[in-house]
């Protein structure tokens, strides 16, 4: 029997926008509870002979598998490429084929006994998807030591995979006494009830079902897990070999050895209702995917000339990405220290494969999903209640993530003078999150140093509590990052409204936060809303003057981040806006 079919809203939207000359694409999904959920897609690029989807699969969280194909025409004939893809579908006996006609109408079919059967499907809204599915992130470091040859690396990684797949490992949920482990060919669990579901585990991990969590939409829940290796043998096993310890020393002509801490950092996606016990095999698969990615990065390097002479193999580093339009994680492994600029081709290919636009970076180091906020709140505006969409209202807001910088952070008292600096730091963080730069967000002092250095300010400015404005922000962005900005002058607060189309255009094309300075205050504009009937403009404001703790509910409820009407601006003050521009790149 064919499974029930659900398609993630992300996939539906991507399909409706797809523009390609390729004839076929792949669908990725997971099975849960008798349902096939389509989570992602990729294009089969014509110039590639290899089945790129098999490689791409390694970049996806474990549990997501190839589940079908996309056909970019309405006919239900089987091309050779399509056949090939469908043959590789293991997750279900009835591979899925989605056809798209010129009008971008989506039809889904299951291939049952070589025949296409059209099937209905449900959409899975993005918010439901993040509510129903949880990610498990496994991090561990395997000490690796082998001969510095392709064969050496291959064989050691194969043996590591075997070791992990043989039930010799146990997975430990960080900060708990919960261990999942292999027993003979079965799985055991200690530290909690064997009936526990993943969802219950997540709920028990967070101390209180906080309101904060509910306020944030598209909140990704992650269970941190590590790995421990079983060093004892199963006494009851029939295969028990009891040979006493011995040492064999083999000498041969000088060879090169490499040893390194190989860091496994891998994800799996899993439904809340899944039993925790079932996580074991999922994590084994996740580890193996990670090892394969790590292996390919090592092999690529060893294949290159020069490294054999000790020129220095680079440690593979793992990054997880969650591009906003895709709705699932993509994991990439790159050699440490190789600049993003020199890996543009690979990224371009990935963009093409995933049918992503080529005008903004998504897979640079800076785009990585984890570990950059250092305690700051990321995207507080997402917690602002969403208004229903009206046909006469145009809304354009910031694209991607940024961190909220405000007064008094980092134990630094800038109350009363640092608002423009903080607004600028918020902008800097946006550029970092979008992958445009890997430079650290500058401190107040670094900003002042920069302005002194370019001659904009006298040396007495350094260490002072003097304000800066939009032009200074522009200078700094230019000097420190090479980011160019557009400056808009508004003579009065009421004149600002005439620039609404410019702001809408800015958020739609560049998407960066805007710094606005006027009178004695600086603010960050995160979005703009224009009602063509009432001719009213509202602004999504992030206020850097907040001096309180990193508490999202206060920030939202007290209006430190929220929509403001035009009367928010002082009618008699001049305003300068700094609109940071982005360059098309990947």
């Amino acid at each position: 029997m064919s499974p029930r079919l659900k398609i993630s809203k992300y996939v539906i939207e991507r399909l409706s926008k797809i523009d390609t000359n390729e004839s076929a694409g792949c669908l990725f999904g997971l099975m849960y509870d008798g349902t096939l959920l389509v989570i992602g897609l990729s294009l089969e690029l014509y110039e590639n002979d290899k089945n790129t989807y098999n490689q791409l699969l390694l970049n996806l969280p474990a549990e997501i598998e190839l589940c079908g194909a996309i056909k970019f025409d309405e006919t239900l004939t089987m091309g050779s490429k399509l056949k090939e893809i469908l043959q590789d579908v293991d997750i279900t006996d009835n591979p899925l084929v989605i056809t798209l006609n010129n009008k971008r109408d989506i039809k889904a079919h299951f291939l049952v006994h070589e025949k296409f059967e059209e099937t209905k499907y449900d959409n899975l809204e993005s918010n439901d998807m993040w509510k129903q599915f949880i990610h498990v992130r496994l991090i561990t470091t395997l000490p690796l030591s082998c001969e510095a040859t392709i064969a050496g690396v291959k064989s050691i990684l194969q043996s590591k995979r075997k070791q992990i797949a043989s039930g010799q490992v146990s997975f430990h949920v960080d900060g708990t006494s919960i261990y999942l482990f292999g027993v003979a060919s079965d799985v055991g669990l200690t530290g909690t009830s064997t009936d526990l579901t993943i969802g219950e585990l997540v709920d028990s991990l967070s101390p209180e079902p906080s309101k904060k969590k509910k306020q944030l939409v598209n909140n990704v829940e992650i269970i941190p897990v590590n790995l421990v290796m079983k060093t004892t043998k199963d006494i009851l096993s029939e295969k028990l070999v009891k040979t006493a310890v011995k040492m064999m020393t083999t000498q041969r002509k000088p060879a090169f050895c490499i040893s390194m801490p190989l860091k496994i950092d891998t994800l799996a996606i899993i439904n809340r209702n899944t039993k925790l016990l079932d996580l074991y095999t999922v994590l084994v698969e996740a580890s193996c995917r990670s090892l394969r990615l790590l292996e390919s990065v090592l092999l690529e390097q060893i294949g290159q000339e020069g490294i054999g002479d000790g020129a220095g193999l680079r440690l593979p580093e793992t990054f997880h990405y969650l591009p906003p339009d895709i709705g699932h994680f993509i994991t990439r492994v790159v050699p440490k220290g190789i600049p993003d600029e020199s890996m543009e081709n690979e990224r371009r290919l990935l963009h093409q494969q995933l049918a992503l636009p080529l005008n903004k970076p998504l897979f640079r180091r800076g785009n990585a999903y984890f570990d950059k906020s250092s305690g700051r709140i990321v995207n507080p505006h997402e917690a602002v209640p969403v208004q229903p969409i009206k046909p006469d209202v145009t809304v354009a807001i910031v694209r991607g993530r940024y961190a909220y910088y405000h007064y008094m952070q980092d134990n630094f008292n800038d109350d009363g003078w640092g608002c423009a600096y903080r607004s600028m730091q918020t902008i800097f963080s946006w550029f970092r999150y979008q992958g445009y730069t890997v430079v650290e967000v500058p401190t107040h002092r670094e900003i002042q140093q920069c302005l002194v250095k370019i001659g904009d300010k006298p040396s007495s400015f350094l260490g002072s509590k003097q304000w800066i404005g939009s032009t200074e922000v522009m200078f700094c962005l230019e000097t420190l990052f090479g980011i160019q900005s557009r400056i808009i002058f508004a003579n009065t607060g009421s004149e600002l409204q005439s620039y609404t189309p410019e702001l809408v255009h800015h958020f739609k094309t560049h998407g960066s936060p805007i710094m606005i300075g006027g009178g004695v205050l600086a603010h960050t504009i995160l979005g703009v809303e224009y009602n063509s009937v009432t001719n009213e403009t509202r602004y999504l404001i992030l206020d850097p003057h907040y001096t309180g703790a990193e508490d999202i509910s206060i920030i939202i409820n007290k209006g430190w981040c929220g929509w403001k009407k035009s009367d928010f601006w002082n009618k008699s003050a001049h305003y300068n806006l700094c609109l940071p521009q982005t360059k098309a790149s990947v």
């Binding site: 421990v228 040979t243 310890v245 011995k246 040492m247 020393t249 000498q251 041969r252 090169f256 050895c257």
Partner: protein, 466 residues
């Protein structure tokens, strides 16, 4: 509260037998100390420095030596050496807890006698401290037991004497020694700890020191094992819980009708090692001349008083694995003629002795057999070091198996590159020769070690006479 020690009743007969037959005797007290209860498992008389007749040379020597007849003439080194050898036979969690003396003097009252007692204890302490991986000295207490039975009155006195203290005054406390007619129950914990590691090796001009390699393996294994997490019967337990609570739970879980007196079954232990990242975040690249493959198992069976906590049991298992490794390595290296593997040797196989179990009372201690040695060899150590007679059938010699040649060949092929010199045939021949030479060596070395003092004494006497 007075420290109380529980001992099996046969120990009393053992003491009485010596006290009535001989005017003087000295030996070791073996046992287990836990916070809840202290048990003695065995008393083992230190073999006389005179040797039994075994070889032609030694029988000649033995006639010349005098039998030690009093405490003051006992060699501290000899008793300490006994303690060192006995420690190898103890599973983790068991220690040499002190000494017993049968004599007609009051060793606690006579200052000369007592200072001799302290000297012996201190010497034992020092010798057992040499190799930390042997866990020779009980880590939980520095108060050693001294048990005395008067040969005249058969009166027993037991006291504890502090060793290794920094201040000069030695703490001496009375100890209550209780003989228990009922056989002490032990919870057995079993595991097979597996090694399978490959290390790169750098050969210097002088070759590779086997001892050094073993030492490195020991150090890194110690670190790994110490950091590991232990499950009992597949479950992570609360460290403060007593073992007997687990036994109860097990019983209620299975069949409560099973007679209470049933010997509790062995619990299976598994160890899990977390990967602690101590390596620098870079790829290390080095020129090496080959590799070391260290593989195989250490079988571990520890016996724990049911009143002991889970934490104490875990510590005992960890000690056992490390102590067993250290014992094998020491025995192996002591038996080597040449510690160095020379640069010309392409493949070299080092097979340390393997563990066998020997029954003592209601539990098992262990012994080690070199490749080619028969289980009967263990009878010798049991008789010599534990003063016990057991039969060959009682030795459990299959907890570990010796490496067979075919396995060596397989390893050999695994490791072989285009450059291998030793063909499998040559290798097995090599293996055979190694086996024989080990056996020979063990024989010679053990004779020398065993009779070292006697030989020296005879030589000295011969020299002074002439």
């Amino acid at each position: 509260m007075v420290r109380t020690v529980y001992s099996p009743e046969y120990c009393l007969q053992y003491l009485e037998q010596y006290a009535s037959k001989e005017i003087f005797g000295i030996g070791l007290i073996l046992g287990q100390t836990t916070a809840a209860k202290e048990n003695v498992i065995h008393l083992a008389r230190t073999p006389e420095e005179k040797s039994p007749d075994s070889g032609s040379e030694s029988s000649y020597v033995s006639d010349k030596t005098e039998i030690v007849k009093n405490l003051l003439s006992v060699s501290e080194a000899w008793v300490a050496d006994h303690a060192k050898h006995v420690t190898r036979m103890l599973p983790g969690g068991m220690f040499v807890q002190g000494i017993f003396v049968t004599s007609d003097e009051d060793i606690f009252e006579d200052p000369n006698q007592f200072s001799k007692v302290k000297e012996i204890l201190y010497y034992i302490y020092k010798v057992l401290n040499v190799n930390q991986y042997m866990y020779g000295n009980c880590p939980y207490t520095n108060e050693r037991l001294v048990l005395h039975m008067s040969t005249n009155t058969k009166v027993l006195t037991c006291k504890s004497v502090e060793v290794g203290a920094t201040n000069k005054s030695t703490v001496i406390k009375p100890v209550e020694w209780k003989f228990v007619p009922k056989v002490q129950q032990w919870q057995r914990l079993d595991c097979y700890y597996e090694f399978d590691e490959v290390y790169p090796v750098i050969v210097k001009k002088s070759g590779i020191s086997v001892k050094h390699q073993f030492q490195q393996i020991l150090e890194s294994s110690h670190k790994t094992i110490e950091s590991s997490v232990m499950f009992i019967d597949g479950e992570l337990k609360d460290g403060n819980e007593a073992i007997e609570q687990l036994i109860k739970k097990k019983k209620t879980k299975t069949n409560s009708k099973i007679a209470q007196q049933d010997v509790p079954k062995s619990m299976h232990v598994s160890l899990f090692v977390p990967f602690e990242n101590t390596l620098p975040e870079t790829v290390e690249y080095l020129e090496c001349d080959g590799s070391i493959h260290f593989s195989g198992v250490v079988s571990s069976s520890v016996f724990i008083c049911p009143k002991a906590t889970i934490s104490e049991s875990i510590a005992a298992v960890k000690q056992d694995i490390i102590r067993s490794l250290a014992s094998r390595f020491t025995m192996h290296c002591d038996a080597l003629i040449d510690d160095n593997l020379l640069p010309e040797e392409k493949v070299c196989f080092n097979e340390p002795p393997r563990r066998v179990l020997v029954p003592v009372g209601s539990l098992y201690l262990c012994d080690y057999l070199f490749p080619g040695e028969a289980p009967a060899e263990a009878l010798l150590s049991v008789r010599e070091l534990l003063d016990l007679q057991i039969t060959e059938a009682e030795v459990i010699s299959d907890v570990e198996t010796p490496a067979d040649t075919s396995e060596f060949d397989a390893l050999d092929r695994d490791a072989s590159s285009e450059e291998m010199l030793a063909t499998p045939q040559e290798a097995s021949q090599f293996m055979y020769i190694t086996g024989i030479s080990f056996a020979m060596l063990v024989l010679i070395v053990s004779i020398i070690i065993h009779y070292y003092d006697t030989i020296m004494e005879v030589l000295r006497k011969l020299l002074t006479r002439s």
